[in-house]
Symmetry: C3
Subunit: 256 residues, 3 copies
C-alpha cells in the first residue's frame, strides 16, 4: 500500500514541542503516514506569508499529499476548521485564508468543516487545534477516510487572494508577499507584469536592474524567482535589510 504524505506548514518553530506533538497524534492514528516538515517556523501569525509559501510549494508534492497548515491567529474563535479536497491534493487548516490561493489554483472540489467527534481529540481545550483537531483530521484522511466523514460540507469564508500590482507607464505599486531567510523580497509581479526587462527601476532612491540569476547581480537587482514572481535580491546580502521592507508592505517602483 502506498504511503500517504502529510506535509506540515506551521509557525510553531523548532524550539517548541507543538510540531512534534502533532506528529505523535498522527502516528497514533496512522503509523504508515509519511510526515515531513514543509515549513516548521513560518512568520508568526502571518496569513500572507503562509499562504504564499504553501502556494509556492504544493505543486511539487506527490498526488494526494495532505497539507496540514497551522498558522492560526484566530484559534478559539468561530473560524471554521477546514478540510479542502482539490483536484490533486488535500488541505487541512483554519478558514483564515492560508489555504485558499493554493487550493483555488489546484481546483476546489469539496470543503468540509471538521466537526466529527470521532476525529476531534477528547479534552480539546481551544488553544491548540493543531493537536486536537487538524492533526487527527489529517491522520484519518491519510488512512483513506472520505472527506465527508470528517464533518459537514461547508463554504470557505476567507477567500484570500494575493493583491494585484497597480501598473502605470512610469511606476508600479507592488506588494511584498514574502521575505526569505536570505533577505530576498518576493513581490507580486509575474512575468507578464514587466514588459521590458532592459529598463531600469528605482526603489527608495536605489537603482535596480533585472538580471537572470543571483550571481549576475551587482548591488541590488530584480530576479525572476523560483516561485514564479520577481524578487528583489542583493547578491550575498539582504535586500530586505537594505530597503527596510517586510512582508505585507506596499512599495513604489519608478520605471526610468
Amino acid at each position: 500500500m502506498i504511503k500517504r504524505v502529510i506535509a506540515l506548514l506551521t509557525d510553531f518553530g523548532v524550539e517548541e514541542h507543538y510540531n512534534g506533538v502533532m506528529k505523535g497524534v498522527i502516528l497514533k492514528i496512522n503509523r504508515n503516514a509519511l510526515i515531513l516538515d514543509l515549513v516548521a517556523s513560518a512568520k508568526s501569525f502571518s496569513i500572507i506569508d503562509a499562504a504564499f509559501q504553501l502556494w509556492a510549494s504544493y505543486k511539487y508534492f506527490p498526488y494526494k499529499t495532505i497539507f496540514l497548515v497551522v498558522v492560526d491567529p484566530g484559534v478559539g474563535t468561530t473560524r471554521q476548521p477546514l478540510v479542502i479536497k482539490t483536484k490533486n491534493y488535500f488541505f487541512v487548516g483554519p478558514d483564515n485564508g492560508v489555504l485558499y490561493p493554493a487550493a483555488y489554483e489546484d481546483g476546489i472540489e469539496s470543503v468540509v468543516k471538521i466537526t466529527s467527534e470521532k476525529v476531534i481529540l477528547k479534552n480539546r481545550n481551544g488553544t491548540f487545534d493543531g493537536r486536537d483537531v487538524f492533526a487527527p483530521a489529517a491522520a484519518y484522511l491519510s488512512k483513506g477516510m472520505p472527506i465527508e466523514a470528517l464533518g459537514q460540507y461547508t463554504e470557505i469564508k476567507e477567500k484570500y487572494v494575493f493583491p494585484e500590482p497597480i501598473i502605470n507607464k512610469y511606476s508600479i505599486k507592488a506588494t511584498v508577499l514574502h521575505v526569505d531567510k536570505f533577505g530576498d523580497v518576493v513581490l507580486n509581479l509575474r512575468k507578464e507584469h514587466i514588459n521590458d526587462t532592459s529598463k531600469k527601476f528605482i526603489i527608495k532612491d536605489k537603482n535596480v536592474q533585472i538580471k537572470a540569476t543571483f550571481a549576475e547581480c551587482v548591488g541590488l537587482c530584480m530576479v525572476f524567482g523560483s516561485s514564479g514572481f520577481y524578487e528583489l535580491v542583493l547578491n550575498q546580502g539582504s535586500a530586505s535589510d537594505l530597503l527596510k521592507i517586510k512582508t505585507g508592505d506596499e512599495i513604489e517602483i519608478e520605471i526610468v
Copy 2:
C-alpha cells in the same frame, strides 16, 4: 512488523549536524526506525524547559515510542546515561532530571544504566554521548532488544519534580515552567489551583484576567493552556517580553 517511533528532544538546534548524526547512527543500526523531531532546539542546557516539554508531549505518542532526550549539561561527568521503561514508553537520556516528570507520571517499571560495550560506539570521546551512547541505545531498543541488555539495573538519582505554587488568600507564588516561541508563559498552576476564575489578578502592576481562549483576550490574560497549566498570554504579542520573565523565574501574583 510495526515500526517503532523514536522521538528526539534536544537542544542541539537546526544549525548543527548533531541531531542529524544521531539519526544516522540510529539508521545504521535499524533502518526501520521511524525517527522524528519532538523538539530540535530546546533552550540550551535548561533541565526545567526540557522536562516540561517532554512531560507535555509524551502522552500523545504511540505505545512504545522511545523518547531520546539529549539536554545534557553534565556530559562527560559521572551522571548516569539512562534507559527508563515505563508503563507505555521508553525514555533514553541523562540522569539529570529531564526524563523524570514524564517517566514518573507514566509509571516507572525498570531503569538501566547504559554500559554495554555492544551498544556504546567505539571511540566514544566523552563530549557527544547523544551520538555515542544515547542514539545507539535507542536504536537497539527500537529493534526489540530488552532494556536489561543495554547495561545494569540502577536507580534514578535526579528525581526532578515541578515546584508546587504557594497559594494564600491574597496571593500566589508561581514558577515559570516554560516560555514558548510566541512569548506565552506557562506557570505551574493547574485547574485546581485557581478556585475562582472570575477574580482579577495583578502581576508586576499589570491587571490580568482569566479568559477561555487567546482570541477573547484583550491585553494581558491567563488562559488554561494545552498542556494542562495556566499560561500568561498577550493576544498576538509576547507576555514574556512585556513582563520581563523567563523560564525558571518565580513570580508573585496578587489576587484582587
Copy 3:
C-alpha cells in the same frame, strides 16, 4: 527492498519552504526514499562551515546514504552540479568545495555532472537548483539509477581542503572550521598537532588549558571534540562570544 537514506544539508533554514519542496520533489520520484535533515540551517553561503559539518557527519550514516548538499552561493553560474560516488556513499551538490573533504576521505570512485534532461525538472529557472537539479538527481539515485545515467563524467574543479595549522615551538596559527550553536569553536588542530596536553596556551590574552570534557572545564578550555578536532569551549557559555571569533578566522595561540 531496503530503503535508501537521503540526508539533506542546506542553508535554507526552517523558516522557508525550500527544504520542504526538495523533499516533495524527491517523494514524487521515489516514495520509498528515507529523507532526513542532517543540517537544515547551515551558516548562509559558507563553504567552510558546510564542508566541515558534512565531513564530521558522513561516516556515521548507513552504507550508500545519499548526501544532498545545497550550500550554493554560485547558483546560476557555470559551477558544475555534481554527483560523486565514493567507496561507501553518494554526494550530490555544487562543485564549490562543500562536498570535497568528505568525498575525498571516503575515496572518490566516479564523478558526474548532472545534465540529463530526464533528471532536471522542466522549467528550471536558474535560482533554485536544489529543487530543479539536485533533489531529482538524489531521488533517481535512491531508486538505483546508475550515476552515469545522470549526466556526463567530469572532473571536480573545486578541491577544497581544510587548511593546515602552522606550528612552531612557541605558537600555533590555527583556523576556525566551525562555531556551533553553543559557541564552541572548532579549530583545525588534530590529536597529533598538540604533543604536550599539560601545557598552557594563551589566546587573545586569555589562558586556556586542555581538559578531557566540558564538565571539567573552568573558564576557557580546549577539549578534544567529537569530530576529531580540538575545540575552544567555555563551560555553559560561548567561547566564540568571549573571544569574538567566527568561522574562517585565523587565530594565534601562544604556547607557554
